[in-house]
């Protein structure tokens, strides 16, 4: 058996993970037709062990295996040319451990060595380059974009990131919840939930039903808040200012309700390993319901007015198109992938019992343009509100406390993984413990890690002036990618 099978939010014995060869790996990836969610190394005495995690979204299972590199082996034959979705993973592994994937098509730095970054170049008449960043015009995170254009048309966009690299994975070896939720400050609940679930799996803690429900309410509220904010930002970028201001203030209603739950507008301090720190009282539950009802009314009204305007539609339709084929090749995940017709939502794929009980379905759009991504957000906002109403009902029946006693005893020699569907897509946290139960490797994969290349593909053959609109429709994370 080349692979160990495990469920989401569970752990296995790290010593039982088999070691396979690169040819076996290539053959298995080809036959199993699964997508990678983890591809990271760990120093093991003088050797380097490469862990590979694949997700089986149909069955809701995760497959783990590993490869062992002796100190004298400094290269292997790249997987990217056969399976392009490995491209970033291989670049990351090369950057961290210096083992070269031979014949990788674009083995460029991912987070380090920015001074030596080899940009693509284009030559010819009327060809010019536009360099933007790392500091952008708006109040956003840093990243460098280089457009290769002919006139106003973009041929290609190259994205160089790494400015946000804070060494988060190294810090996570001495983790706490406050650090986990600060790694990517717009997906506070998603990150904190993934981290807490990994820790709970490693220390065999079973949290209360009530805490599980409150966590999911917060997760969906985060989704609603950010999606509404992004709908406003998309409206702003195509100069429909009424949309920008109405969506902007509507988002305030949602995050201020979050503040009433836990004292922070983004849900910081809510989740801890072992449960949650704040309860939702019946009065607060009614308040959440009535706020969300109002919010949905406003969003409905505004979106309908906006989507009737030909000037809005013409800016969004057929702008920034990513086909389903491209999205699958790049291994895109989350809401951006769903907008291109990829059937992927870890809330449903990995059989979360709270989502299974709820009569909702995955939202999938097929055109892959800005319009699809706007519309998908709009649909997901409504869906999440329905789901929260459902959860608030279930909250009444589950009164088993909000936090259980925890200790810091992690099971030695274990490998645990948690996939949480944040608003952007799957947040994957993996942790490995050593002989005395200490953390020896903590790996984070943000959905943006897969999706940045999708943005580069989206702007091809578009006018350069449409870039802000395309960018906002994805709203990818810089710090989630750079860690």
């Amino acid at each position: 058996m080349n692979w160990i099978k495990l469920k989401n939010n569970t752990k296995i014995d790290a010593l039982s993970i088999p070691a396979i060869t690169i040819d076996e790996l290539r053959e298995d990836v080809r036959n199993m037709k699964l997508r990678p969610i983890g591809f990271f190394g760990k120093q093991e005495f003088e050797n380097i062990r490469l862990y590979i995690t694949l997700a089986d979204d149909k069955e809701g299972m995760i497959y783990v295996s590993s490869m062992l590199f002796a100190p004298d082996i400094k290269s292997y034959d790249s997987l990217t040319k056969d399976f392009p979705q490995f491209h970033n993973f291989e670049r990351e592994f090369y950057e961290e451990f210096g083992i070269e994937p031979k014949n990788h098509p674009w083995l460029k730095p991912l987070r380090k060595n920015q001074d030596e970054y080899p940009f693509f170049a284009m030559q010819g008449e009327d060809v010019h380059e536009v360099a933007v960043g790392p500091i952008h015009a708006g109040v956003i995170e840093p990243g460098h974009f280089r457009f290769m254009c002919q006139g106003e048309k973009v041929y290609d966009l190259e994205i160089m990131l790494g400015y946000q690299h804070r060494g988060a994975e190294a810090l996570m070896l001495n983790p706490n919840n406050r650090l986990a939720e600060s790694i990517c400050g717009d997906t506070v609940i998603g990150y904190n939930m993934a981290y807490s679930q990994v820790m709970e799996a490693l220390s065999d803690i079973k949290i209360s039903q009530r805490a599980e429900i409150i966590r999911r309410i917060a997760l969906e509220m985060e989704r609603i808040a950010i999606h509404i904010g992004d709908m406003g930002a998309i409206a702003g970028d195509m100069a429909y200012l009424m949309g920008a201001s109405v969506f902007g203030t509507t988002r305030t209603l949602v995050i201020n309700t979050m503040l009433e739950i836990c004292g922070s507008r983004f849900g910081r301090g809510l989740i801890d390993v072992g449960g949650v720190n704040f309860d939702i009282t019946p009065e607060l539950s009614d308040k959440i319901k009535s706020v969300l009802d109002d919010v949905i009314k406003i969003v409905d009204r505004t979106a309908k007015v906006m989507l009737k305007k030909p000037s809005c539609i013409s800016r969004m339709e057929k702008t920034g198109v990513v086909s389903m084929e491209t999205a699958l090749q790049l291994g895109a995940v989350g809401m951006a992938a769903r907008s291109s017709g990829v059937n992927l939502d870890s809330r449903f794929d990995f059989k979360d019992k709270w989502y299974k009980k709820c009569p909702l379905e995955k939202e999938i759009k097929e055109n892959g343009d800005v319009y699809s991504r706007f519309n998908l957000r709009y649909r997901e906002v409504k869906q999440s509100a329905e789901f929260i109403n459902d959860l608030l009902e279930k909250l009444k029946e589950n009164n088993d406390g909000i936090k259980v006693q925890t200790n810091n005893d992690l099971t030695p020699n274990s490998f645990a993984i948690s996939i949480t569907e944040g608003w952007r897509g799957e947040v994957v946290h993996t942790a490995i413990t050593g002989v005395s139960g200490e953390l020896i490797r903590y790996k984070i994969k943000d959905p943006s890690f897969n999706n940045w290349y999708m943005l580069a593909m989206a702007v091809r053959n578009n006018g350069i002036s449409d870039f802000p609109l395309c960018n906002k429709s994805f709203n990818l994370s810089y710090c989630g990618n750079d860690l």
Binding site: R111, K112, Q114, P134, I135, A137, G138, V139, I140, E141, P142, G162, Y163, Q164, H165, R166, G167, A168, A170, L171, N176, N177, R178, L179, S182, I183, C184, G185, D186, V188, G229, M242, S245, V246, G248, T249, T252, N256, L259, E260, I261, C262, G263, S264, R265, F266, R268, G269, N277, I298, R301, T302, V305, K308, S477, Y478, C479
Partner: protein
Amino acid sequence: MLDTIKLKYFQGKQYIKDIKNAPMREHFRGFPVIKSGDVDCSCCPTGALISNPNRIDLGKCTLCGNCKCEAIQFSNCYKLGSTSREKLIISENMAAEDYEKFAIESRKEIVKIFSHSLKLRQVSAGGCNGCEMELNACSNCNFDMGRFGIDFVASPRHADGIVITGPITKNMAYALEDCYKSVPEPKIVILAGACAISGGVFQNSTELNREFLGKYPIDLYIPGCPIHPLTFINAVLDLISN
């Protein structure tokens, strides 16, 4: 067209009229109220809590509430900004009202030049997008910072100062300094958020380069994790007005 006018009608007026005395929800964790007594310093994720006598360094504090006990409570007072790093250390029995009075000392030359118009360039140097989102919120219809003449501009050449968020990563150190140098004199520097002031939860990272802060004067410290828009706007207003 009619639909848009209807939308505007439903939207009504959303702005907070009196931003200096805006009510804050009681759940907000703001200014800490500290008494003497036993505290557990090990629960603080950033080392902001110091015992004997009990103190909290707002420059490090993420206002997470982990340390809440008899001796430490958090009020909903949101005016946390200060013009000096030392004043951010809150000692026992300090009242929020007293802190507000002495924390920000506006300087004559800043008031003279910037009191009617302050254009800022924001630099995210490793920020997690929390403070960035809240700074964006400062300009939305609710908080509407633009009415006081305070705005974020696209280029440092147009700016009167910079706002730094994030713990300042090695990879952003050069761009940050470059941006600062591009701002014409006279200029101010504002540190927004626990990460910018002290490194926050990332203070032990080896990937930071905080030399910038030693080289140039800092005019305003705004604590929070992330900063609340009311904290930011009030601190800046106090800095540029008498």
